[in-house]
Symmetry: D3
Subunit: 287 residues, 6 copies
C-alpha cells in the first residue's frame, strides 16, 4: 500500500500550487530550439493540457527558427541574418508567415487537441492581436519585414480563454495596411504577458537555466533579480550564447510581468515540475 | 532526475481522470465510523479540496452516529435503537440536530476552510433542501422524529457550487411545519446525488469494499452490479455487518446514480486514489 | 365597509416605507433575551418574511446566551463570566458552537421556512464569513476561545440574498487554522452591517428603547445621536443594565451604519411596526 | 398599544397573498366609467404602485369612453354607435387615438409617477404590441376604424416590467400599413393577459360584481364559473346593463386566463382589498 | 454591367461612415415645420429605419407646432405667443399634451413600424424621462404650463434602444406632482443628447443650413464653430428667422454634444445623405 | 441634386434586404479560382466587411488550389490528381496545410482587418472544428491524407461571430489522433453552413452561374431547384467543367441549407450586388 500513498502525496503536493494559480494566466514561450522529438514535445503538451484542466489559463506563444530555415532552403531562398536577426525580404516573410502560422502553429494545436485540450491557433495578425510597424534599420542594415509591436489587442485571447480554449499564438504582426511582420517570439510573449497581466511568463529553451559557473551543474541559480542578471553579464559570468537566453526574461520583467522563468524544454514535463511540485527547476527572474 | 520525472508522471496519470470528471458533481457520504483521527480526516479534506480545484464539484454529506451517542450520554439521554435505527424522541432529535448541524458539520467546514477550500455547511432544513415527513412505524415500533425524504430542493447546493463553494450537508430533514427529522445519511446522500444528477456517489466507510471471501484480502471485488450484490447476499457471501454497508450503494443505484463506490475512509487519501490514479481501490457498484 | 377601507389605508401607509427600503439590506440582531415564547417569536419571523417579500433584504444575526447556559449546565460544564463576557474554554466553545449553529440557528431557519420564507442558516465559519483571532486577555484574564473579528467576507450572504434566500447567521468566527471562536453577537451584527453597507441595523432586545427617565414610560427617546448617548451615560441617565443595550448601536454607528435601532423584541411585530407604519417604536441611534 | 398591533396584523394578513402572487403578472383593465374623481382614482393608483413594490407585475390597460365623447363633442364631431360599438370614421379615429394615447394614458402615467411608481405609457401601436385588422361589418354596418386583434407582441411589456416599470397601455391597434384601429379595451386586456400568461385579469367597473338578485345587496356572488354565468344569463338573472360587464371576464377565461375579476372601481382601494386582504370583494369568474 | 457596379460603389461608400457610427447614439430632432407631405416624411422614416439596421441607435425627438395650433383652433382655444413662446394655460397644455403624445408621436411610430423599424413612442412624462418645473415668467409674462428641464432620466431610452427599438419622444415634461409641462423640442433633444452622450444631434428644419449670404445658395457653410456662429449673428449675417434655427445647435454644443447638424428635412433622405455619403449636406456646428 | 437622391435611393433599396438578413449567418465559399487580382479581391473583402457591419454574420471558407500547386512546384513536390482530387501524400499534406492555413487564410485576414473588419483566421483543426477521417480509396486509388468530415464543432465560430469577429476558415480537418486531412473546400463550406443553420451559402467561382445554353449569355438561370439541376445534367445542358461548379450547391442543399448561390467572384462586389440590390446576379439553387 506504500506506493499508492506516495502517489496520493504527490498529487496533494500540487494542491497549494494549483490554489495559488487558479484562474491566473500563464504565458508559455515555446522556442523552436526546444522542439526536439515527438515524445518530448508530447510531455510539454500534456503539461499545458493539465494546466488548463486544473483551472489555470495557459497561452502558448511559439517560435520556429529551425523549421523556417529548413523550408526556406527547400524553396531555395537563402537565410540571411544580421546580429542574430533574420533579414526578412518579401520572399522570406511569405515563408516565415506560412511556416509559423500554417505549420508549427497547427502542429501544436493538433497535439493539444489529440490530448483532449481544446486549442485554437491564431497569429498576431488575427483580430489585430499584435499590431506592428517596420523596425528601424540596425546599424544601417534594413531588416526588411521585421516588425516591432506598437499595440497588443488581447481581447480575442481573453474570449477564447474564457470559453475553455487554449490559445496558441504565432508571432506574426500586422501593419495598419495589413502587411505581415516577423516579430521576435520572446518579445511577442512578453508583450502578450504584459497585456494580459499574466501571473507567469515561462521561456522553454534548451538550457537548464542560469549558472554561476557554466562548468559546474550544481551552480544553477534558482531565483535572481534583473539587476543581478545585469551584474553577472558585466562580470562575464553570463556570456556568449547565454545572453540571448536571458533577454526574454529581462524584457518580460521590464514590461511588468512579476515572475519570468527559464526552463529546459528538452527534459520531460518541465512546466509541471516547475509549477506543481516542490522540486522546482530552472531559473526564475524577477524585478 | 529520476524522482522528478516519476512525480510528473503521477500528475500526468491524473489528467484523463480530471478531464472525464471536469464540471461533474461527486457526492461524498462521509460516515461517522470513517472519522477516525485528525491526521486521517485531514487527508480526506485534502482530497475534497483538490477535487474542487481541478474543476469537479464535490458535495459532502456526513453522518455522525458515534458523536451523537457520546453527546446524548453526556446529557444523560439514553440511546435506544430498533433494528439498527435510532429511536429519536423529542429530547433526542434536539441533540441529533445540534450535534450533526452544529458540531460535525462545522468541524468539517473548519477543516476544509483551513486547507483553502471555501466550504459552506448547511443542513437539509436550510432552503428546505431535504423535505421530509415522519417515517411509518417499523413492526409497530414508533421511531419518533425519524423522517423519510419527500422531496429534494437542491437549488441552494447548485448556487453554492457554481460560486466555487464546497457544500457540506448535515442529514436533518424538515417537515412542512418546520419540524426537524433525523434522516439516514446514506439515504440523504443518495437522494441528493439523484436530484443533482451526480456522476458519482462515494461512501466512505470503515471497510475496504466487498469481498468474495471476507477471510481472503485478495478477493476484493472491484466492480459489481446490483443484481450480483443481491445474489451474493442470497448466497450468504455478503452477510452480517457487511449488509448495511452495501445498502447505500443499492439505494443510490436505484435512484439513478450511475456509479456508486464503497471506499475505506480510514486509509489516507482514499478519494484521490480511487478517482485520480490507475490504482483504483474499493468496490464500485453499478446498475 | 368602513373596516375594509381602514385595512386598505394601513397597507397604503406602508407604501412609502417599502419604496424607501426597496432593494436595501437590513440587519436584524435577534438577541437570546428577546426569544421568549413561541407565539411571540412567530410574529418576528413573520415580520422578517414580509420584509423579504416586499423587496427588502433582511439578514438575521442571532445570539443565544440563555440556551447556551442551559445546555452547558445539562452537560455539567460550568458557565463562567468575567465582566459579562463568557470565559470559553475548550469544552465550552464546543457547546457554544453546537448550540448557536446547531440549535438556535436551525430553529430560526425552520420557523422562517414554515412561514414560506426561504431561509439558509450558516455560521461565521462558513465561507470564512467572520474571520477571527483570539481576543487579548481582559485585565489579564484569558477569556479562552473568545474571538475578535479581523475580516468579514460577506460574499456568501450576497449570493444567498440575491437568490431570494434569507440568511441567518450564528456568531461563531473562524481562525486561519480553522479554530472556532465565540464572537459577541452585537459585534458580529455590526461588522456584517458595515461589510454589506446595510441601510439599517436593528437590535431586538427586551427593552422598549432608551428612556430619559427609566421610571417614566412617556420619556422614551425616539431618536438620538451617539454623542448624546455618551452624554446621557456620563450624566448617569443611561446606567446599569441599560449600558450594554446601547453598546450595539454605538458599535454599529462607529462602523458606518447610518441607522441603528433598539426595539423591544418581546412585543408582537416590532420590526414591522418600526419599519412599515407611522407608529414608530423603539429608539433610533445615529451618528 | 392595541392599535399598532392591529395595524401589524393587517400587514401580516397580506403576507400569504403577497407570497402567492410574487413575480406574477396581473392585468388591470381600468374602464372609463370607473374613473370618477381625483381622490378615488388616486386610491387605485396607490393600489397599483403597491402591487409593483411588493413584487407583483401589474400592467394597466385603460379605456376612456366618456372622455372621447367629450372631446369629440368639443371638436364638433358627432359620436355615433351601433349596438354599443362606436362607429369610428377617419375623423373619429384621430380623436380616439389622441384622447386615449395622449390624454388618458399620460394622465395615468403622471399619477403613478407622482406616487413613486415608475410608469411608462404606450399604446398597442408601439412595438406593434396589438396588431390588428379592420373588423367585419356588424349586421352590414361598417364600423370604420374599429379593429380586431390578429396578434399580440408583448415583448415590450416584458422588457419594461423586468426593469421595474409599470406599463400602461392604450387600446389602439396597428395594421400592417400603420393604420390605427380602435380596439375594445376589454378585448385588449384579455388578449394581453393571455399573451403574458397573466395570473389574474381584473376589470375595474362601476358595479360591485354579479348579483343573484340585483335588488338584494347580500346576493353578491363571490366566485362563479363561465358556464354558470351563461346559465344565469339564460335565466335572465344577469340581464340588461349587467351583460356587457361580464363579457370581459368571459373573454378572458376563453383566452386561457385562470382568474378574472369584476371589481367596483368607484370604491377606495378595490384592488388591494381584493388581492391583499381576507375581505375579498367583487366577483371572480373562472373556467 | 456598369449600373450595378455604380450601385455597389455607393453602398461601399457608406461603409466607413457605418463603421464610425456603429453602436453610437444619434438624436434626431424632427421639427413640425419639416413635416411636409406624406411622401417626404416617408423618406425620413426610411433613413431612421436604415440607421437602426446598420447598427446605429437613433432616438427621435419631435415637435409639432402647426398641428397643435390646428387642433387648438378646432377646439376653439386661442393660440397665444410671447416672443415666439406659446403661452400655455390649463386648457392649452391639455391639448398640447394630447396632440404631441397622442397624435404626432403615434403617427411617427406607425410609419416606422410600417417600414419594419420597431418603434416605441413615449413622452418625457413616461419613466420620468424629462423632469421639469415651471419656467420663470419672461419679462413678467407668465407662460403657464411651459417647463424647463431639471433632470433627464434616460434609462428607459437605453433599455428600449438595447432591445432594438427606436424610441420616439414627445417633448412633454413632468413635475414632481405629475403636472405636465410643455418643453421646447430643441431643448428636449439637446438635453436627451447630452444625457445619452450622443455622437450626433441632428435638427431637421426647413432650411438648408447656414448661409454666409442668404441670397447666394453657393455660400452654404458646411462646418462652423459656436464662436463663429455668434460672430456671424453679431455681424448680422445670421439674422431674422435664421437665428432660432441655430439656437438648437448652440444649446446642444453647450450641453456637450460634439457634433450638431442643421439639415433640410423637406428634401428626400436628408439624414442618409449627410451621414452615409460623401455628398454631405447642411451645416455642422461644433464647439 | 439629382445625383444625391439617386445615391440615397440605392441605399434605401438595400433596406429590406438588410432587414431580412439581420442577425443571420451567411457562409461564403471563396474558391482559389476566384482570387484574381488584388483590386478585385479587395471588392470582395469590402462586401464581407459591409455584411458584418449591417448586422449579418459572414463566415468565410476559402480554397486555394492554384497557390498550393505553385508552392508544391517551388518545393519540387509533384502535384498528382485522380479524377480531379489531389493525391495528398505525407509531403503534400504538409504543404497543403501550410499554404491554406498559413498563407491564404492569413492574407484574407490581413485584408479584412485593413478594411476595418475584425477577422480571425482559423482552420478546421482549431477547436476540432472539422473532425475528419481518411477518405476511402476511389476506384482503388488511395488518395492519402484526403479526409471526409465526420463531425462539425462550430462552437468556436459562434463565439467569434458573437463577439463581432469575422471567422475565416481554412479547410483542413483533424483526426482523433491529431492527423491533418485535406478537406474539399465546397464540402467544408456546406458542412459548416449546415452546422450553423446558415441562411445562405454562396460559392464565389469564376463563372456567372448556370446557363441553359452556355453559348447564349442571355440564358443565365436566376433560380433553379436541385431536381431541375439533375435533369439538366442528364440532358447534357450542364456538362463538362460546369458540373463540378454546381456540386457545391447540391451538397449544400442536401445538407439542409435553404438558399445556395453560384456567383462570379471575378467581377467587382458580387456578394453585395446579389444580397443588397434589386439587380440580382448569379444562379440560386434551392431544394
Amino acid at each position: 500500500m506504500e506506493n499508492p500513498v506516495a502517489k496520493a502525496n504527490i498529487l496533494i503536493e500540487a494542491l497549494p500550487y494549483i490554489q495559488r494559480l487558479s484562474g491566473k494566466t500563464v504565458i508559455i514561450k515555446y522556442g523552436g530550439n526546444a522542439m526536439i522529438d515527438h515524445e518530448q514535445i508530447k510531455t510539454i503538451m500534456q503539461d499545458i493540457t493539465l494546466l488548463k484542466y486544473v483551472g489555470v489559463n495557459p497561452v502558448v506563444v511559439h517560435g520556429g527558427g529551425p523549421e523556417i530555415s529548413r523550408t526556406l532552403s527547400l524553396m531555395n531562398v537563402e537565410s540571411r541574418f544580421y546580429k542574430g536577426l533574420r533579414i526578412t525580404d518579401k520572399d522570406a516573410i511569405e515563408v516565415v508567415q506560412m511556416v509559423l502560422t500554417g505549420k508549427i502553429n497547427k502542429d501544436i494545436v493538433a497535439q493539444l487537441n489529440a490530448l483532449g485540450g481544446k486549442a485554437i491557433g491564431i497569429s498576431g495578425m488575427d483580430g489585430a492581436l499584435l499590431q506592428a510597424e517596420k523596425m528601424e534599420p540596425v546599424d544601417g542594415v534594413d531588416l526588411g519585414y521585421v516588425g516591432k509591436v506598437t499595440n497588443v489587442n488581447s481581447r480575442v485571447l481573453e474570449i477564447l480563454a474564457n470559453d475553455d480554449y487554449i490559445p496558441v499564438v504565432a508571432p506574426i504582426g500586422i501593419g495598419p495596411d495589413g502587411t505581415a511582420y516577423n516579430i521576435n517570439a520572446d518579445t511577442a510573449a512578453s508583450e502578450i504577458a504584459a497585456a494580459m497581466k499574466a501571473e507567469k511568463l515561462i521561456f522553454l529553451t534548451d538550457i537548464d537555466g542560469i549558472y554561476r559557473n557554466p562548468e559546474d551543474p550544481s551552480s544553477l541559480i534558482s531565483a535572481i533579480s534583473v539587476p543581478e542578471v545585469n551584474e553577472l553579464i558585466k562580470q562575464g559570468v553570463i556570456s556568449g550564447g547565454m545572453i540571448p537566453k536571458v533577454q526574454g526574461c529581462i524584457k518580460g520583467v521590464e514590461m511588468g510581468v512579476k515572475r519570468t522563468h527559464i526552463l529546459n524544454g528538452t527534459i520531460p514535463h518541465p512546466i509541471l515540475l516547475e509549477i506543481f511540485t516542490d522540486v522546482g527547476i530552472g531559473t526564475m527572474v524577477t524585478a
